[in-house]
Symmetry: C2
Subunit: 151 residues, 2 copies
DNA sequence: CTGTATCCTGCCAGATACTG
DNA sequence: CAGTATCTGGCAGGATACAG
């Protein structure tokens, strides 16, 4: 069976379509949302990151990205290929060889991811602290000198 | 009932934990992943964007972000609050009033989102073109002078 | 107004088996 | 080696009802 066109994760059918603004995050066909949806995919980011160092074969990726299944790896690679972020090259060796690499477009996106990673590492402390504070306030299991009575 | 500590979407229990690298996207507790997981949330980005113009009340957000349900709005606001990205202020008016606003941390993150939006709008043409080319190659329903025979 | 509590449903990741 | 096909369970997200 030939490759089927899997239109999922691209756009959803927005029934009411009550909007009259164009190209907004509030619209379903917003470019930002499309990109965000790609970045939303944990595995996609992992793959993009992995390919930063150069082209890799299918099983190399599978080995590197531990705990990813063949199916999900294939699906994610297809999506990235479809978006023009990675390139797929087949070599007619005896057991066929397939190599994946970043396209120029994929490289520019990767730069953004790097920037985001930088932000994340720079601010992770603050986020973690905020979470701890929030949790402490919400669930004071034993906040300080408070005695908890249980039946 | 007091607010419960909802630890979902924060970290998952990684059973094998086969990694010996620290702070990598390959680790589950990678800062980048944490941030990415927030951005992955469609509604979260929408809220962050909405708050860019200033503080908003719960129902304002609900009205602005069409098609979001109360439950999901509340959940998302809690997550963002927990991460220290937005602040929640309660006014003891007769029907209680609650206002949400960006924290400084949230504002810096928003700048990154803006950058990403810029990239998206700049490159959406290329992505769309790549998708069209991919689909055409994968599903040549009637690519050119090809006759399709059906029973 | 600003939530919480339930129930319900669809979709997607994971596991598994098979193929060129 | 690099996939495809199929089944399944869990859970995020929607709808709805109710409450302080």
């Amino acid at each position: 069976m030939p490759r089927k066109k899997t239109d999922d994760t691209t756009l959803d059918t927005s029934p009411p379509s009550d909007g009259d603004m164009l190209y907004s995050v509030f619209e379903d066909l917003c470019p930002t949302r499309l990109v965000l949806d790609r970045l939303a995919d944990k595995w996609a980011v992992l793959i993009l990151d992995r390919l930063q160092q150069g082209p890799l074969r299918f099983n190399s990726l599978k080995r590197d990205i531990k705990r990813i299944t063949q199916k999900v790896l294939t699906q994610t690679l297809r999506k990235l290929e479809r978006d023009g972020l990675i390139a797929r090259q087949v070599f007619a060796t005896v057991p066929v060889t397939v190599e994946y690499s970043l396209t120029p477009l994929g490289e520019t996106l990767n730069e953004f991811i790097s920037g985001l990673a930088h932000w994340a590492e720079h601010n992770i402390e603050a986020v973690l602290a905020a979470q701890a504070a929030f949790d402490a306030a919400a669930a004071p299991s034993t906040p300080a000198n408070v005695t908890v009575h249980r039946l």
